[in-house]
């Protein structure tokens, strides 16, 4: 299961980024958020967020055992991460990046769903293969 944003209805207010960064790091700091909304051109909105792939490329790329394939999600153990950066490159969705010196990605805590003012974030159970 992964978080999915309906970009056709998203209003680009970045409340999810603020909430995510506060829940995860106790700071209001959107660059540390595990969800990233971006705007391309006048009307193009997009999102970077972990898709919790069934055979994840990031798990294959990790040489330190920090990333593991769980039952429904991809599990990241930040203690084992050495910030080598292989997973950042490997992810086809650009959904994993450096947060406070180590890799960080969405762990489906659902805080963004709770706080989205327009209710455009939802859980999707159809995870992509890779």
């Amino acid at each position: 299961m992964h978080i999915e944003v309906d970009c056709d209805r998203c209003i680009y207010c970045k409340t999810c980024e603020m909430v995510c960064s506060y829940v995860k790091t106790k700071e209001f700091r959107p660059s540390n958020s595990f969800i990233r909304i971006f705007r391309e051109g006048v009307s193009g909105l997009g999102v970077h967020i972990c898709k919790q792939c069934q055979k994840a490329e990031c798990v294959k790329a990790c040489r330190y055992g920090a990333l593991k394939q769980g039952k429904k999600t991809v599990i990241l153990d930040r203690k084992k991460c050495v910030n080598c950066g292989r997973c950042y490159v490997a992810c086809p969705y650009h959904a994993i990046w450096e947060v406070n010196g180590k890799a960080g990605k969405c762990d489906v805590c659902l805080a963004c769903i709770k706080y989205c003012p327009r209710f455009v974030i939802k859980v999707d159970f159809n995870d992509p293969k890779s």
């Binding site: 207010c13 106790k26 209001f28 660059s31 006048v42 009307s43 706080y115 003012p117 327009r118």
Partner: protein
């Protein structure tokens, strides 16, 4: 931190924000006014972020742009929302002050602590949207850009600064000032946290605050955006039509917010704002796709020019946005040209109300300073004087008013006359004072001067703290004080905040006095003082000159200004 950039010497300096600034001047408007007052001789261009920017408080995201206005010669200020002001704070800068002039075009690149002045050869000559695209492609999609278009480069007097494709600091020609300095764009990216004294308390209130912001108070803006006001203002006779000759437009039903829904594509909002008043629209006829048009644009390029085709308004708005000119000023100038054409003062048969093709041509001509556009680009006073037509020009201090007809709105008429930046609808929103009455009381003047002063102070708080005026129904002064207390960790009352706002306004006025303001500069356009409106419900209305002078005295008295001059000691 204050970022001081000198383009002549090519230097960048960082200074810590003086300790008293935050408590005394709050942010945004306050920072801009005090910085401009201190550095007036250097002719700076100042970007200041609102005081509550970067917190989770809904709609707190304002950016103020300040400088000596090329359009009026007085204090110039303009605000835009979006994501730029918050990104500035995340990069660690509350104020960016640019002085000097660069010989070749440059842009300012701010990536957290790394600040550099870089060559803008590649983007010079490009329109504002392409400039933004260029920087997003070059530095990543998370940078925020404030840039000028071709009009700013050509130093059109009312050029605007564009951010986020649809957010403009339009008024008082701040884009022209940026063009004079040879600064094409400012690119910001920040990754620092914004720390308040009560992060946890604020976080626990998100749902409550969002619920308020999504309540009835903002419904109009949420559903229709600012064009939702067209129908109402037309009904009360306050929609300026055909260069301010009428107070209502007979074809207004074609340009209402409800009608705009047919062209609507998507809602877009600013940072941390659930209201999303920005409406993306598209026109198939012109293959245009853009954010807006806003109420002011629809009045300026629509009813005031006698145009009732949304396709043309959308296309004209996109042209103004990409070329980088203020839609209100452009619309007012073009409508003046149309009137002069109809009166035969300018010999051009195409100049007549309702000519959409000519409107689009003139916008391009102004931005590129070609033909008649070159005259118009110098602003409304030189243009009107050239044809000896000052009595048809509606302006105060060289700035054209926003879209509310002052003839039937005495408080609003006063507010545009005495405003520091010229005829301005955003400084007091005084039309609300008049339109709160539905009977004869609306046209009365008793006690309204004091109300204008109160409204100005209230709106100054919005501009300083950084919250949006569209949420004014939820932010009372006391509620703002409560949130501000949480942010700075010190108890502040609403009355104290109002006092600070009045002081900020005094500083702005003091800047004007230093720039040569005299009492004669607080005037009303001739059309407001002498021309009775033809249509109901404001038939025969105009502002009596004696009444106006009386209100002006009352206003100065309420402010405590002897002969309109405040006492300011910094």
């Amino acid at each position: 931190m204050i970022l001081r950039v000198d383009l002549s010497k090519h230097t960048v300096k960082k200074e810590p924000l003086p300790r008293e600034y935050r408590e005394k001047y709050l942010g945004g408007n306050g920072y801009g006014a005090v910085e401009l007052y201190k550095h007036l001789k250097e002719n700076p261009l100042i970007f200041a972020a609102g005081g509550m920017n970067g917190t989770i408080i809904p709609t707190a995201n304002i950016t103020g742009v300040f400088g000596i206005s090329p359009q009026t010669g007085f204090f110039g200020e303009s605000y835009f929302k979006g994501h730029f002001g918050t990104e500035m704070v995340f990069a660690g800068y509350e104020i960016i002050s640019v002085v000097g002039e660069s010989k070749k075009p440059v842009f300012l690149h701010i990536d957290g602590d790394d600040v550099s002045i870089e060559d803008a050869k590649e983007v010079w000559g490009k329109d504002a949207w392409k400039t933004e695209d260029h920087f997003k492609y070059r530095f990543g999609e998370r940078v925020e850009v404030a840039s000028i278009g071709v009009a700013g480069e050509n130093q059109v007097r009312f050029a605007c600064i564009t951010h986020g494709y649809g957010r403009q600091a339009g008024r008082t020609g701040m884009g022209c000032l940026m063009g004079q300095k040879g600064l094409k764009a400012i690119v910001v990216r920040g990754d620092k946290p914004v720390k308040t004294k009560n992060d946890e308390k604020l976080f626990n209130r998100i749902l409550e605050l969002d619920h308020l912001a999504m309540g009835e108070g903002t419904e109009k803006y949420r559903v229709y955006g600012t064009p939702g006001g067209i129908k109402h203002l037309n009904d009360v006779g306050a929609l300026p039509t055909r260069n301010w000759q009428q107070g209502s437009f007979e074809k207004a039903k074609d340009i209402t917010g409800e009608e705009m829904k047919h062209y609507w594509k998507h809602d877009i909002s600013c940072f941390s704002c659930p209201i999303a008043c920005g409406k993306l629209t598209s026109s198939r006829k012109y293959k245009a796709r853009e954010e807006g048009p806003e109420y002011e644009t629809i009045f300026a390029l629509g009813s005031n020019c006698g145009i009732h085709d949304f396709n043309i308004i959308i296309e004209a708005n996109e042209l103004c946005d990409t070329l980088g000119i203020d839609t209100i000023s452009a619309g007012n100038l073009i409508s003046l040209a149309f009137e002069l054409g109809e009166r035969g003062i300018i010999k051009d048969k195409e100049l007549k109300f309702g000519n959409g093709k000519k409107l689009l041509e003139l916008i391009k001509a102004i931005a590129h300073k070609k033909g008649m556009g070159a005259d118009m680009a110098e602003g409304i006073i030189p243009f009107a004087e050239r044809y000896d037509a000052m009595k048809y020009a509606v302006q105060v201090k060289g700035l054209e008013p926003g879209g509310f007809h002052p003839n039937g709105l005495p408080a609003y008429a006063l507010s545009i006359a005495i405003d520091v930046r010229g005829a301005d609808h955003q400084r007091a929103g005084a039309y609300g004072i008049d339109l709160a009455f539905s009977d004869e009381q609306r046209f009365a003047i008793a006690g309204k001067a004091k109300q204008v002063k109160e409204a100005e102070d209230y709106y100054t708080l919005f501009d300083s703290l950084g919250v949006c005026k569209f949420a004014r129904k939820i932010y009372s002064v006391d509620f703002m004080a409560e949130l501000w207390s949480l942010v700075i960790g010190k108890k502040v009352t609403g009355a104290e905040l109002k006092k600070k706002a009045a002081y900020i306004y005094d500083i702005e006025k003091a800047i004007n006095v230093r720039l040569g303001w005299t009492e004669k500069d607080d005037y009303l356009p001739e059309r407001v003082l002498t021309m009775p409106l033809p249509d109901a419900p404001v038939k025969g209305r105009y502002i009596n000159k004696k009444d106006f002078e009386l209100m002006k005295r009352e206003y100065y008295f309420a402010r405590g200004w002897a002969k309109g001059v405040p006492k300011v000691k910094l």
